[in-house]
Symmetry: C2
């Protein structure tokens, strides 16, 4: 229970990029900015990393101009998956990105 | 002439991500590291941004372990292109990323 609350608290200022259109995530960022969340994190993994950068750029240029990109970090995460070459199931490495938007 | 030399000098430590396989660009980074280039920049635009992050992660984890990601920056560039929705030719915005690898 505590763990779930912790998770919710953490996600409160985080936009996790998925398969929806880019503008959906820009609106999510703008909504958080409207509730004065600061910082706001945009996170993505794998092929969705490009979309995360688009969301950050569109947000700060057109919707939440008080915010800037304060930091960008990347890492490698191990996931369960199927190797595209061998077809074997096992751990695969995937790149992840976190973009931190801050006011001012 | 001076401009061309300037350009060559600038590109000397930059890997620009294109459509080749990821490992080609990792090898390019490793080759630059082997010639003691420091820093090394990995640059990409649009959908290729995800591949740039993969190249950086694979490089520092497996091939050029003396290097770390020192900085990541993103920006928006205006390009000539065709709007996918309207079919009109004109300026389109594209996100770009630059990942700086540094030794130590």
């Amino acid at each position: 229970m505590e763990q779930i609350e912790e998770q919710e608290k953490k996600e409160d200022n985080t936009v996790l990029i998925g398969k929806k259109p880019t503008m959906n995530y820009v609106i999510a960022v703008a909504t958080m900015a409207g509730s004065d969340k600061n910082p706001i994190f945009i996170k993505a993994r794998g092929k969705l990393i490009s979309k995360a950068v688009d969301v950050a750029q569109i947000s700060i240029r057109r919707f939440v101009k008080a915010y800037k990109i304060a930091n960008m970090t990347s890492a490698t995460e191990e996931m369960k998956g199927i190797d595209r070459k061998t077809g074997h199931e096992g751990p695969i490495n995937v790149s992840v990105i976190a973009i931190e938007l801050r006011k001012g």
